[in-house]
Symmetry: D2
Subunit: 110 residues, 4 copies
Amino acid sequence: MTETPTEDVTHDGHHGGHHGYMSAKDDYLKRLRRIEGQARGLQRMVEQDTYCIDILTQVTAMKSALESVALALLEDHMSHCVLDAARKGGVEADEKISEASAAIKRLVKS
Amino acid sequence: MTETPTEDVTHDGHHGGHHGYMSAKDDYLKRLRRIEGQARGLQRMVEQDTYCIDILTQVTAMKSALESVALALLEDHMSHCVLDAARKGGVEADEKISEASAAIKRLVKS
Amino acid sequence: MTETPTEDVTHDGHHGGHHGYMSAKDDYLKRLRRIEGQARGLQRMVEQDTYCIDILTQVTAMKSALESVALALLEDHMSHCVLDAARKGGVEADEKISEASAAIKRLVKS
Amino acid sequence: MTETPTEDVTHDGHHGGHHGYMSAKDDYLKRLRRIEGQARGLQRMVEQDTYCIDILTQVTAMKSALESVALALLEDHMSHCVLDAARKGGVEADEKISEASAAIKRLVKS
């Protein structure tokens, strides 16, 4: 959304367009940096012999933040890539649905 | 497990303030550093406009690595802190079980 | 897929069409009956004082079977209802994506 | 909890062959019957061509109820079988912890 036309010309990726998460790129980077910070915080906790249960609580919070990133990526992907493919029709739409379903399955079963 | 008797005297057990994961501290730090690296790798993927589904696959792998750390911490905690409390008996044993159960619940329901 | 035009006239549900899972209705019923049987099997195990861990193993198997039903329903829903809405375009397509995303979120976070 | 002293004499403890969930047997049976009912309700929903997302919501509720049963069984198991083994000491305590940890892992990773 904040992309200039020049950038549009440069990275004209999938189907001449952008991936689902492009408009929220900065938001994803911010969330992932925070998650990276949580990983470093966990190392400090282990180094300082923090009580196991307190470390576990932080691991759970980090897992939850990561799942939220996955769910947001998935929604963006469906709103853009999947919808675009569906509008164009043809076999590509079915392939996009199968691919997204497989990603959801890996996330749920992991 | 790799502790020498001398170390045993110095850090005398869990009652002297040590937790279940102490013997595997280096292993946890290595795993958490790798997870921190995965968080940085995800940022690079977003910056380079990697395809959404490929990012999701990496997020799922990172979530799985984090869950494995949680499960290892939990097992270490039960093998040390919970067992120690149980051996001493009394109300503390029940409290440790409740506390561990609550941590498991947060992990499963998160 | 195996539906005759006559059936199309009779159950003209959503948007003059069928829900995503219609073509696989018998398959879903079979899976749900098996899951119902697992719930009865668990009651027998409790009545017969089966060892806790063995009951837990069965509960995990049942949870996994249920998740597989959820994932199959989701894929059918996206292949039919969501794709149909996307082809027609307009705001309804976005609503279907939001609705499916919310369902995925509930499943992952539950 | 609702056991009378007479019953206490009859089923004396877990060493006489009883499991962690014994005192709450009726509660588990009630919860499992409700879950069995949810499985039947889902079959009715499929038969009546209920909208996919509404079925998914019920599947998620049923999965959540099942997970709560698993977590309750696990806590009962740890409060009784694992604590008992820990009090007696020896290798059996470690085996019980490993066994419970493996069950938790299957539940989390399923």
